[in-house]
Amino acid sequence: MTENETASSIRGDRDLANAQDIIVCEGVSKWFGDFQALNNVSATIKEQEVVVVLGPSGSGKSTWIRCINRLEQHQEGRIMVDGVELSNDLRNIEKVRSEVGMVFQMFNLFPHLTVRDNISLAPIWVRKKPRAEAEEQASSLLERVGIPEQADKFPGQLSGGQQQRVAIARALAMEPKIMLFDEPTSALDPEMIKEVLDVMKELALSGMTMMVVTHEMGFAKEVADKIMFMEGGQIVEIGTPEHFFTNPTEERTKLFLSQIL
């Protein structure tokens, strides 16, 4: 419990009440063929907030998070990211994507590039940074995620946990305002989950706006400012971790919690 308290005390320094809204979703709906994956999802995420999205599989968590940097297109409603509305305009999408970092379940590192090139490629060609500066940044990011010695290896030579940490470093290299995590620990062996979660905790404490889809209840309890519970493509309940885990209002939330805890 002590760890928990220190975390919340550090996080307590931030003035979330007066923070700007950075992601706004209004009535977002999406269909895959006839199947409705998202049903009128509305939510607001503030700057520096850490939001954990929970829910049974197939509830639309991943689809929603992927709509936020338009890897999936929503068909109804509005999504505003940092004041830019996502539409079919390519320039808007590229602008949003360079400010929103994403970490995938399957890492999706570029297998033909070394770890250093994986991290510095986008800063060089998208952010137009000089190569030397981008590589220096890559080294310091690898230091931050705890694997500075792996810079010249290829992704295939790393363990799953190390690969996911490189993926986090790759996303951070674009200096994003928001980080999206799509089940970052689901493809990992149990002993590697902790090393990735530790990096994510450190990131949360540094004041990054984060939206995390996960099944790690410990992480949700400890780090989240807000928990959103989804089922059947809808947000069923939004609340603080204390409220969510100890005193949920909705029947479906109680059922979900009783199955996992």
Binding site: F110, K128, K129, P130, A171
Partner: protein, 609 residues
């Protein structure tokens, strides 16, 4: 809960206690003795024994038949030997033959340096070499006994076979860990072969047009014009290998490799159009037209590209580059030099690609340098091709034979590859018009036999050309080869493109890459790596398909062997000898290519997943 916790450490421990410690090697499997090996592999049951006996008999019969064909006194092997120059380069003037050797020497120099840079040398166990020599010696003995040699020849060959097998036997029992570099072996083999040219009396033929038998066999070793250049070639290759290994350790290796690859791509063009063709440059025209055009395009183009690679240029840049493209197309409506049209189109291509490679100052300057380099090469080549040659050769092209086979093969591969990649990208693109055009093109080309396309291009296309445009037959059939191979390569590349997972696309998109950047940096490198094995197969097939040139009457390697040499009064009816030689050359080259490709596949597989 408690149970689980107490059992989990046990679960972790058990495997480590069962597994042997890391240092222990797997147990050695005892080698089978030769009789056991025979029994296990050739005579394991009745059916296999019958098969073994039948196939051995068939192989022996084939070898015997082939040998009695080759060593039949009726065979005119001198037809191939005396016409070697014709086979290789057709009627290239004799007094300019040094140009051929210089070109070959340069290519061999590049080969030597590249072998060193790509570390082609492997260490081979000496005992392994011994085994191989023993097998070769035994094979020579077997062949000698089967061949219809004279007694003297039989004794000489038997001696050679015994000598090789004996050397092999001695080396076989060499210490287990002694190795030798494969490069030493290779150069040793070539050294012996070249040495034999100086020592062994192969004999040669003299040609004097005033004498009654114009061609007369002379005793002694081969002619000086053969053995001297080849000795120099071998020396060049070996020296350049050592030079390469020296340079390799001094400079940045990846830069050296990039430079070498560029040289490999460009040097055949220069060797062909500057060294071999030896254009007779007209200084007046050069200074009044060619150099001003080059300067204009390099300076104006550089300024334009420096401006376009500015990351903040935005929409204005796209409008300007599209305008350049339209100007490029518009040049075809007016009377002007072809070089201006081509350069304008190339500039438009560079301008359109500029946003993909935009960046800070060093990146912009690098892009401009690439543009100037392209200009130097293009202007130089186009000027050279438009200048008359000093090599006065009958027919409409200055070189033929094996050289033209190689030349068309080279141009086909270098140009069909980018075209094939573009077709594959178009076929997988989101734009329906690209997809439709590319699919139609690929399916149409793949549905028509190559020989039809070749005949169409050599006969019909020159008739359809507009006034003032001229296409030599060689250029026309090269284009035919290019579009045919591009369609097949496109399908190979498409397979590679489809093997790149959706996750890779998403990861590239998620960091904000544009479509072009995603394709160039992420998708293509992975797709091409997957496509290497089928593409190598396609390349080898292309090399063999150049033989079809003989059918449409181009003086290529095969045509000279099949029609030209048997037409000479001295060598009537020597077709079979020549064809056997030609097929041996094709066999050696294709075998070498497929061996090399196997090593390339192994190398690029490293660090893949």
């Amino acid at each position: 809960m408690n149970l689980k916790k107490s059992s989990s450490p046990n679960q972790i421990k058990t495997p480590s206690s069962i597994e042997p410690p890391n240092s222990q090697l797997p147990p050695k499997v005892a080698a089978l003795s030769s009789t056991e090996w025979l029994k296990a592999n050739l005579f394991s049951n009745t059916f296999n024994s019958i098969l073994t006996i039948l196939s051995t008999a068939a192989i022996l019969l084939i070898i015997r038949g082939l040998l009695s064909f080759i060593f039949n006194p009726l065979r005119q092997w001198s037809a191939t030997a005396t016409n070697m120059r014709l086979l290789m380069t057709q009627a290239y003037p004799e007094h300019q033959y040094a140009r051929i050797w210089v070109s070959l020497g340069f290519l061999l120099f590049l080969t030597g340096v590249s072998l060193a840079f790509w570390r082609a040398a492997r260490s081979v166990l000496i005992s392994q070499v011994g085994k191989r020599l023993l097998a070769i010696g035994a094979f020579i003995l077997l062949v000698t006994l089967l061949a219809p040699f004279s007694d003297r020849a039989t004794i000489i060959w038997l001696a050679i076979g015994v000598f090789i097998a004996g050397t092999g036997f001695l080396l076989k029992s060499a210490q287990e860990d002694k190795t030798i570099s494969s490069m030493t072996l290779l150069s040793g083999t070539f050294l012996l072969a070249i040495l034999s040219l100086w020592v062994i009396p192969y004999g040669h033929h003299s040609y004097i047009s005033t004498r009654t038998p114009k061609i007369l066999a002379e005793p002694g070793t081969v002619a000086m014009t053969t053995k001297l250049p080849w000795t120099i070639m071998l020396a060049v290759t070996i020296c350049s290998y050592f030079l390469g290994s020296l340079i390799r350790d001094k400079i940045d290796e990846s830069k050296g490799k990039a430079l070498l690859s560029m040289t490999w791509l460009i040097s055949p063009l220069f060797l062909l159009f500057l060294v071999l063709r030896d254009p007779d440059f007209d200084t007046g025209h050069l200074f009044s037209t060619d150099i001003p055009i080059f300067l204009f395009f390099s300076i104006v183009g550089s300024l334009l590209l420096l401006w376009l690679t500015n990351p903040d240029i935005g929409e204005k840049g796209r409008v300007i580059s599209t305008a350049v493209l339209f100007v490029g197309f518009a040049t075809f409506l007016f009377q002007m030099l072809m070089i201006v049209r081509i350069l304008t189109l190339v500039l438009a291509f560079f301008a359109l690609a500029a946003p993909t490679f935009s960046g800070q100052k060093p990146a912009r300057i690098r892009y401009t340098k690439v543009w100037i380099g392209t200009m130097v090469i293009l202007c130089w080549l186009i000027t050279a091709i438009n200048t008359p040659s000093t090599a006065k050769v009958p027919g409409d092209f200055f070189i033929g034979g094996f050289a033209i086979t190689l030349m068309i093969f080279f141009f086909t591969m270098v140009l069909a590859f980018p075209l094939g990649v573009l077709l594959a990208l178009a076929r997988t693109s989101k734009f329906p018009i690209f997809r439709m055009v590319s699919t139609t093109f690929i399916e149409f080309i793949r549905g028509v036999p190559l020989i039809t396309i070749l005949i169409f291009f050599s006969v019909m296309v020159p008739l359809f050309l507009p006034d003032g445009m001229d296409l030599t037959e060689i250029a026309a059939v090269t284009i035919a080869f290019i579009i045919f191979e591009a369609a097949y390569l496109a399908e190979n590349v498409r397979g590679g493109l489809q093997s790149v997972t959706r996750g890779q696309h998403e990861a590239a998109e998620a960091v904000g890459m544009t479509n072009a950047q995603k394709t160039f940096f992420i998708v293509l490198p992975q797709a091409l790596r997957v496509a290497i094995p089928p593409m190598v197969g396609q390349i080898i097939a292309t090399f063999k398909e150049t033989g079809l040139l003989a059918i449409i009457g181009i003086f290529d390697f095969l045509y000279i062997a099949r029609s030209v040499i048997p037409g000479q009064t001295e060598y009537m009816g020597s077709t079979r000898e020549n064809l056997l030689f030609v097929s041996l050359v094709y066999l050696v080259i294709c075998f070498a290519m497929s061996k090399a490709s196997q090593r390339v596949e192994k190398r690029v597989g490293l660090g893949e997943r």
